[in-house]
Amino acid sequence: MTDRVPVETRRQRWMAILARAPAEGLMTLLNEAGGAPEYTVLRGPEGGLVMVRGRAGGGGAPFNLGEMTVTRCTVRLDSGLVGHAYVAGREPRRAELAALVDALMQDPERAETVEARVIAPLEACQAARRTERAGKAASTRVQFFAMQTMRT
């Protein structure tokens, strides 16, 4: 099934997961998935800004809301595969590891293991956090009780 999903879409999925992964957890998982291969850092990791945009009214013309800090990094494996990362915040190590795993996920020989040992656990962890917060939000949903009307 995964073969039918365009590579771009699959890459968007793992990059989104990597963008939210803590450096320490990523390193630990990567070590369990065969460790880091030799690689060269082509760019960064370097800090910068992204201007975040909203839309007037939520759906109208775009406007500039304010900036956020972002760290980016590009690495090249000795095999020639290039990995990119742009992650929110100012953690060089996190961006470098995310770029490295992005490159590994493009390697047909490593992808399956890295998906199973790194991406999938991170995804589950991120989903669990979202579910926990969604549960808390659901606890605060107002249940209205119908009032009996006096005019019968």
């Binding site: 771009e8 890459r11 968007q12 990059m15 989104a16 963008a19 939210r20 800090g47 910068g48 800004l49 992204v50 201007m51 975040v52 945009r53 909203g54 839309r55 007037a56 009214g57 939520g58 759906g59 109208g60 013309a61 775009p62 406007f63 500039n64 809301l65 304010g66 900036e67 956020m68 800090t69 972002v70 980016r72 590009t74 990119h84 742009y86 992650v87 929110a88 915040g89 100012r90 979202r130 579910t131 926990e132 917060r133 969604a134 549960g135 808390k136 939000a137 659901a138 606890s139 605060t140 949903r141 107002v142 209205f144």
Partner: protein, 355 residues
């Protein structure tokens, strides 16, 4: 110039800063406050500093708060100064607030809206009595948060009311929005620039302006159509990739104010809208922003511009607390020569008056 350069005072300045550092640390018998503690436990201060500093970075905002001894305008100033040292990589695609992971969502106009009223971690319904338990580091109560997560759809209220055609629609546009960090404010200021200025404007100023519209200065009879707070993901499209990637989440608060509009020559009677969107959990600011946004649309909607909040120049020239503090506080700088000349003037005038 209103002031002249003076020499001297270096030692006094060094000593003043040394004392400041000592005062900032406070009594060394109590543990130092960590940046992580500020980030986690003073979240609303962090949110406000990020909004007014116009830079989303919780850790940096917490650091700025620590460095500024909790002076939030000084902290926002520190963030604004910091951002000038960084290159801008990209701008994001407009965030999709309709797809927000909802932590709070209420509507004051529809009780039974799809998705329901979700209160979230709110101060509403608290009694505003000091909680002396917090003096003793009491653990928060547990047990009330038991519900299972559900996947209830949370359509935005404008999308619900809009179906009847009674609410003005959003007019999509791909026009490149103005950017106050690149071009100085100029007039007439379009709505994109007004919203950017309000989003980073001083909460107190925007609140006061919004309040003035409720009290009759440009009255617009607003209703809180919807307030929502939660995480949205941010996407950029780096040139080297050629497709959009998700770079992480931000907490945002959005407010849709709904206002009855009697119609104009070209537009039938309907509800018009004011919009508020701010970094972090900043409901008061988002609501006030939406009120002022609507007030500043007076001219566009053919209403008389009579009140301060409807005066775009007045609002935008005075909403930024970094600019305001700079100009107000510059009065502390030496004005010795200016004042000497003023003194001579007044002496002469007095002599003439007494002659």
């Amino acid at each position: 110039m209103a002031y002249v350069a003076v020499k001297g005072g270096e030692q006094a300045i060094d000593a003043a800063h040394a004392w400041l550092a000592e005062e900032r640390r406070g009594d060394t018998s109590s543990p130092a406050l960590s940046v992580a503690q500020i980030q986690d436990q003073l979240g609303r201060s962090v949110d406000r500093v990020m909004a007014e500093g116009s830079l989303y970075d919780r850790q940096l905002a917490a650091l700025a708060i620590k460095q500024a001894q909790g002076d939030l305008i000084e902290a926002a100033f520190l963030l604004r100064a910091y951002r000038t040292t960084l290159p801008r990589f990209a701008h994001s695609k407009p965030v999709e607030t309709a797809a927000m992971t909802i932590e709070r969502r209420i509507s004051a106009i529809f009780k039974d809206l799809p998705g329901g009223q979700v209160l979230g971690p709110t101060y509403d319904y608290t009694h505003r009595l000091l909680d002396f338990g917090l003096l003793e580091d009491e653990a928060p109560p547990s047990g009330a948060l038991t519900a299972e997560a559900d996947a209830a759809a949370m359509p935005r209220v404008p999308d619900i009311l809009g179906q009847e055609g009674l609410l003005e629609p959003d007019l999509a546009s791909d026009r490149e929005p103005g950017d106050l960090t690149r071009e100085p404010l100029s007039f007439p200021a379009e709505r994109d620039v007004r919203l950017q200025a309000l989003a980073r404007g001083d909460e107190g100023f925007v609140l006061g302006m919004g309040y003035s519209t409720q009290r009759g200065y440009g009255s617009s009879h607003p209703f809180a159509g919807e307030i929502r707070m939660g995480e949205v993901s941010v996407e950029i499209e780096p040139a080297e990739l050629g497709f959009a990637i998700d770079i992480g989440d931000l907490v945002l608060t959005e407010c849709q104010m709904v206002t009855r509009f009697k119609g104009s020559k070209t537009v039938p009677p309907q509800f018009t809208r004011g919009y508020g969107l701010v970094f972090g959990f900043g409901e008061r600011k988002a609501m006030a922003m939406a009120l002022v946004d609507r007030a500043m649309r007076a001219e566009e909607l053919g209403e008389d511009v009579t009140a301060p909040a409807q005066d775009v120049e007045f609002v935008l020239y005075h909403s930024d607390n970094i600019e305001a503090t700079g100009f107000v506080e510059h009065l502390k700088l030496p004005h010795y020569v200016d004042f000497q000349s003023e003194l001579q003037n007044v002496r002469r005038m007095r002599a003439e008056a007494e002659a």
